[in-house]
Symmetry: C2
Amino acid sequence: MDIRILEGVFDANERIASENEALFRENGVLAMNLMASPGAGKTSLVSRTLEMLSGKVSIGVIEGDIASSVDAEKIKSYGVPVVQINTGGACHLDAAMIREALGHLDLPSLDLLIIENVGNLVCPAEFNLGEGLRVMILSVAEGHDKPLKYPLMFSQSHVLLVNKIDLLGMSDFDVGTLRETVRRMNPAMVIFEVSCRTGEGLPAWAEWLERMVRERKNQQRM
Amino acid sequence: MDIRILEGVFDANERIASENEALFRENGVLAMNLMASPGAGKTSLVSRTLEMLSGKVSIGVIEGDIASSVDAEKIKSYGVPVVQINTGGACHLDAAMIREALGHLDLPSLDLLIIENVGNLVCPAEFNLGEGLRVMILSVAEGHDKPLKYPLMFSQSHVLLVNKIDLLGMSDFDVGTLRETVRRMNPAMVIFEVSCRTGEGLPAWAEWLERMVRERKNQQRM
C-alpha cells in the first residue's frame, strides 16, 4: 500500500505566497491573478489589456497552462516579458510555481504582473499566489447561475468581468439576475460588462486597472 | 506543523470504482460520466437526452455540484429518479460519492445512469467513477484550441459533444481544426456536433446512446 507523508499543502502554499506578496510590495508591482473557466476569454482579456495600457504601464505576464505554450506565443507578440508555466497535470497554479517564474522576470522594471491561471472555476480559488488583485471572468455563454455553483471563486475575487456580452441576444443570460446573486455573495465585488471581441466596455476596465496600479506605486513610496 | 498520513488517494478511488463498475455490470446499467467546463451545457444535454429517450430507456441521474441543487430541481421535472451530490468544495466527483448515491437509486430498474460531474475540464478526468462511458462536452464559445490545453480530458473520453454550434457564425471556432487535433490525440473518439438550444444534431447522439445501452443489456444476458 502506498503511504505518503505530506506537509499541510495549504500551509506550505500560504508561507510561499506571503514571500511572493512581500516581493511584489517591495517592488511596487501589482500582481493580478486572472481566473476563469476554459474558454471564458482569459488570454483575449490579457491581449486587450496589453493593447490598452501600452506605453502607460509596464506589464509582465505569467501564463499558466497544464500543457502547451499556445497562450505564451500569443502574448509574446505584444513585446512584453512572458513566462509560461506548464503545470504538467495540476489543475491550478500555486505559490511555488509563481516564485520560480519570478526568477525569470525583472520585477523592479514592472508595474503590473498579470498571472493567467489554469482554466478552472474551482481549484485556482483555493491557492493564494501572493497576488494583490483577484480578477475572474464569467462568459455570457456559461450562464448566469454560476455564482451559486462555484461560490468560492465568486466570493473571493475582487473583480468580475462579464465577458462576451455581444452574445447576450443569443442566450437567456440575465445580467440583472447575475448582479443580484453576486451582490448577496460578495457586496464589494467590482463588475464590468465587456466584450473582448467587439471591445465594448473594455476602456472602463483598463482605466480602473491603471488606477489600481498607480495606487500600488503610491503605497510603495509612502 | 500539520502532518497528515494519507492512503494513496488514487488507489483508494480505483478500488471503489471497481466495485461500482461490478454493480453496474451485474445490473446491466450503462453508467455515463458527463464532464465539461462550467456552462458548456451539461444540464441542457441531460434534459434533451431525457426528452429524446423517454419511453425507450429507463434513466436515472446523479447531479454533482460543489453547492446548490439548481440542476437536480431542473432534472426532477422530467419525472426520473435523481440524486444530488454536493461535494462541499471538492472540484470533482469520486467513486465513493457515487457509491453513496447508488444507495438512493433502484439500480435494477435502470438501463442508463447519467452522472453529471462538477463543471471542470481538469480534475474529473483523473477520478474513475466505475463508469462504462465517458462523455465530454466542449462548447463552441470555449474555442477550438482546448484539446492542447486540457489533454487528459480529451484523451480519456469516449465521446466529444461539440455543443452550441448555433454560435459558430459568432466566433472564430473552426470545427475542422478541432477534429484534426482530436484525431491525433484520441483517434477512437466519437464526435457529435450539436446545439442543445436549437436541437440540431441531437437525434444522432440519442440514437447512438440508445444503441450503447442495448449493447450493455445484451452483454448482461450473455
